[in-house]
């Protein structure tokens, strides 16, 4: 089943085109890694898909429901608010800076949306949250506040918070970029677990080895366009495009340095 379909997506800020005609699809259970240099439009693309930014042209379909499309006259039309609200619930997002709610405990960070937005009973939401906490290895932190956690722990809670809404697809915007190197492992481990469970995910990342290991498919973006996409082996070992090659080469060099 197709979870996400993006057609000819454009998004710019002022004069600058940031996403420049992007099309791709994601099937249920697929893990897609998105790599590319800074400023290549990866994050903006995610923000368009999660309704944090309005697109300027194109079409986005989530699980068969049209979220936004462009009329033949070039008018961008979003679904009505009620439908948009339903579609939004299918999308989960994990931010680079976690964005946990500092005034809520870990548990309440996870239960607030299911209770308030999902209409689930507090008891049920709490039970689900505790299960998720167990899964990410942080049961004992249920009553802690975000400031008492390490960055890695915060990000794991942020993943649990997104998962608690049972999204059809989970987006990650450079989930380990704000973390100290020794903390990235625990976050990647959680994402890996989700991948094993066939959670549909789209992960923007600079962790090349992680993308290579976990992704079913890798998308390389540059200048707001998809330059190349395919299975990780192909992208990493035998890239067909010159720009992909030079990007990965820089990466390898900087790793050795």
């Amino acid at each position: 089943m197709q979870i996400l379909k993006v057609e000819n997506l454009f998004k710019g800020f002022d004069e600058l085109e940031v996403v420049n005609g992007v099309s791709f699809q994601i099937q249920q259970g697929e893990v897609v890694g998105v790599i590319g240099p800074s400023g290549s439009g990866k994050s903006t693309l995610l923000r368009c898909l999660t309704l944090l930014e309005k697109i300027e042209h194109g079409r986005i379909v989530v699980a068969g429901e049209t979220m936004v499309e462009t009329s033949p006259q070039g008018q961008v039309v979003y679904a009505p608010e009620e439908k948009l609200r339903k579609i939004r619930l299918r999308l989960g997002m994990v931010f680079q800076n976690f964005n946990l709610f500092p005034h809520f405990t870990v548990l309440r960070n996870i239960t607030e949306a299911p209770i308030l937005v999902g209409g689930i009973s507090p008891e049920e939401a709490e039970a689900t949250a505790l299960q998720l906490l167990k899964k990410i290895g942080l049961q004992e932190k249920a009553t802690a506040y975000p400031y008492q956690l390490s960055g890695g722990q915060c990000q794991r809670v942020a993943i649990a918070r997104a998962m608690a809404m049972k999204p059809d697809i989970l987006f990650f915007d450079e989930p380990t970029s704000a973390l100290d190197p020794e903390l990235t492992g625990e976050v990647l481990k959680v994402i890996r677990t989700l991948a094993v469970e066939r959670m549909t995910m789209m992960v923007v990342t600079h962790e090349m080895s992680f993308a290579r290991e976990v992704a079913d498919r890798v998308i390389f973006m540059d200048n707001g366009q998809i330059i190349e996409e395919g299975p990780p082996q192909q992208i990493f070992e035998n890239p067909s495009n010159e720009r992909t090659r030079s990007f990965l080469q820089n990466y390898n060099l900087s790793f050795r340095a």
Binding site: L91, M93, H103, E112
Partner: protein, 224 residues
């Protein structure tokens, strides 16, 4: 100075000052009760991207913060009877005029404090709430406002302390609040003592204000 050092004199003075204090507290509490919510509404309007909402409020804040509160008191009291055409003009009770002027003035100051607080909350908090499906109202009331309140407590306490002392200004409208009572008594007995005793009354009230805010800050100190 010596005139009040007999028991009857002191009791009489304390009685008068306490009466004045009741009026002072009425003005203080009513102003807070009205201006704190009004300030929030003004702040939200001031932040609005609609210019027809934010521009008039900007001007309002400029005027309220840019002219003497004393003058505003006089304006609110006299404007309805002097500035309105005959037939429409009316007299406004002194106490009501004082409350209106104080509320508008303090709401302007509070609005700017709220605005600073609201704008200091990182974008990410709004975005996280949006992605989780919170409505705008839910986001503001559950995620943003609680964090704003924690951040603005210190500047708000400053204003509240000033408000306790500013109540003395309403004597310009002939309202017998604490300071006016003390001043009258002072003239009557040819002694500055009542004024300094009144000073102790203000100090005591602000000691309570300070303690209250200190406790509130402590209570909200459970997170960072």
């Amino acid at each position: 100075m010596l005139a009040i050092w007999d028991g009857a004199g002191s009791i009489r003075l304390l009685g008068l000052l306490l009466q004045g204090t009741i009026t002072t507290l009425q003005i203080f509490l009513l102003t807070l009760l009205l201006s704190l919510p009004l300030g929030l509404v003004i702040a939200l309007g001031r932040i609005s991207t609609h210019k027809w909402i934010s521009s008039p409020l900007k001007l309002f804040i400029l005027i309220m913060r840019g002219t003497p509160l004393l003058l505003q008191l006089i304006f609110v009291y006299f404007a309805p009877s002097y500035m309105l055409p005959e037939g429409l003009s009316f007299r406004i009770p002194r106490f009501t005029a004082a409350i209106i002027a104080f509320t508008l003035n303090y709401a302007a100051y509070f609005a700017e404090i709220y605005r600073g607080g609201i704008q200091s909350i990182p974008r990410g908090q709004y975005e996280a709430a949006a992605v989780l499906g919170f409505t705008k109202t839910q986001t503001f009331l559950r995620i943003i406002l609680p964090q704003v309140i924690k951040r603005i407590l210190p500047p708000i306490s400053n204003e509240v302390i000033t408000l306790v002392k500013d109540t003395a200004l309403v004597q310009i409208l002939g309202i017998s609040e604490l300071f006016r009572v003390a001043k009258n008594e002072s003239s009557r007995i040819f002694s500055t003592t009542p004024l300094f005793v009144a000073g102790l009354f203000y100090l005591f009230m602000n000691w309570i204000v300070t303690k209250t805010f200190h406790n509130a800050e402590k209570k909200l100190g459970y997170y960072k």
